[in-house]
Each structure stands twice: as C-alpha cells, then as structure tokens.
C-alpha cells in the first residue's frame, strides 16, 4: 500500500496527529482521533476504494460446486432447501451476497456468470423471507486463493454471504 506514496522533498510543516483504529460491528476499520473536545472519524480504505475489514464478518462461504453445475446459474431443489434453512437460521438483520468465479473463462463472461449466481442465491434468500441488502458479482477479480491449481480454482468458485446485524 505504501508503494504509491510520493517521495517528499523539502520540509513538511505540520503537527503530529496520530489516529487509532476503531473496528465497527461489521468488522471494518475506521480511523479515529480524540482531540480533547473534538472527535474525528473516517473509514479506512484500501487504495482501490475497498473497506479494510476482517474475515470474521463473513457468515457463509458456499463453494459454488455445491450449488451450481459448471457455467450454470440455476440451482437444484435440494441445494435450494439447504440454502433456505441457512438463511432462516442465521438470524441476521440482512445479507450481502457476492458471487465469484475462477479465472478459466473471459473476465466479461465471469462477471456475468457470478452476477447471475449471486442473483440466484439472493432470490432464494428473499423466498426465505429475509432481507437482501446488496447483491453483486465480482467474476474472477477477487480470488480467495492464488495460482492455477485445481484446489485454488475450486476455492475461488464461491458465493460469499455477509451477515449484517
């Protein structure tokens, strides 16, 4: 993350102002400072705009091989009832549902496939009577495991479900 920083030349006239980290109930980090009377807070982000969060916030990672056939976004009745019982027992206020694929087809194709799969899981969630807050497909752009081994590819084919309280 420091690689994008510009080298400074000359003298910076400033005051030391060191923040600490507060972690919100979703598991994401915020910069926070207490100046005595004033307090300041802002979300910590990666340089590509993402939130800086901890893995514990995920309440379900479903390998898509369990739900979908290769290149398909429909779901079997058995998998559907498993998913429904998950949503009914997870006891969250709402769900964020994100589809991911491995990198074996084109980026554009995988973006579409992961979106259709996330939409399918979201439709099951809605049919279970729970609240879907966000649904998105990320294609192959956010791999969970690096490399092209069968194991890595299998880990990357997944639907991640975040529970928000």
């Amino acid at each position: 993350m420091a690689s994008g920083a510009q080298a400074q030349t000359g003298t910076v006239v400033g005051e030391e102002y060191t923040a600490t980290i507060w972690i919100d109930p979703d598991g994401c980090e915020h910069w926070v400072m207490d100046d005595g009377a004033e307090g300041y807070m802002d979300a910590r982000r990666t340089r590509d705009g993402g939130a800086v969060c901890h893995r514990s916030e995920i309440c379900g990672v479903i390998p898509t091989d369990q739900l979908f056939a290769t290149d398909e976004a429909w779901i079997s009745e058995a998998a559907k009832s498993d998913l429904m019982s998950f949503f009914q027992s997870a006891n969250a206020f709402g769900y964020l549902i994100y589809g991911h694929t491995d990198a074996r087809a084109s980026d554009e194709y995988n973006m579409g496939l992961s979106q259709r799969r996330a939409d399918m899981v979201a439709s099951v969630a809605k049919a279970s009577g729970v609240r879907v807050v966000d649904v998105k497909g990320f294609g192959e752009r956010q791999p969970r495991a690096q490399g092209n081994s069968a194991d890595a590819l299998q880990q990357n084919r997944r639907v991640e479900i975040y529970c928000i309280r």
């Binding site: 600490t20 919100d24 207490d34 994100y98 807050v133």
Partner: protein, 104 residues
C-alpha cells in the same frame, strides 16, 4: 485572588470533565484515548446506526463531549443502505459508550 483562580479552574475542570483539562491541547498518540471521567481507549467506542437522507447507513457514536460519524461500507467500499430505519433516523446503542448525560 489566588483562591478565586483555583475555584475558577475547579469549575472549569468539572464542566469539561468529559474530555479532561487538555481541551484542544493534546498531541500525537494522546489522541487515541478519551480522557476524563469516561476515559478509555477509542477502540472501545459503542456505535449505533444513523441513516442519511439517501437512506444509507453511517456508524454514529456519542462519546460524551465528542461525537463520531463514519460511513458503513460494503467490502468493496460502496455505501451500505440496509433499510434498518427511515432516513434521518438513528437506531442502536450509540450513547452507551459514556455515562455523561446528553442534553441533545
């Protein structure tokens, strides 16, 4: 004369006890702590949710004298608009991090 000054200081001290007598005079890592009667490290803050006029969520903390507000984000950095409450509404235990009474 001297005792009057001390009394004035004591009153000022009581009035500002939420943040200590160091109002605006803190430096560096001192800013990572909330001082005074409800002192603690800032990682211990308790938040609620404030919903903005667009319907999106923000973490809100009322820590006595200080107030904090920061966006609730999806993992890829978009706003979370959960529908937990109508716009311009606050929900949750956001005042629980401090014993200092709040007149707002």
């Amino acid at each position: 004369m001297k005792s009057i000054k001390i009394t004035a200081l004591l009153i000022a001290g009581l009035g500002l006890s939420a943040c200590g007598l160091d109002q605006g005079m803190r430096t560096g890592t001192e800013r990572s702590y909330d001082a005074g009667t409800d002192s603690k490290h800032l990682s211990q803050l308790v938040a609620g949710i404030w919903v903005d006029q667009d319907g999106c969520d923000h973490w809100i903390v009322d820590d006595g004298i200080e107030g904090y507000l920061s966006a609730r984000l999806t993992p890829d950095g978009r706003p979370v608009c959960s529908g937990v409450a109508p716009p311009n509404t606050v929900v949750g235990p956001f005042r629980e991090g401090s014993d200092i009474p709040d007149r707002l």
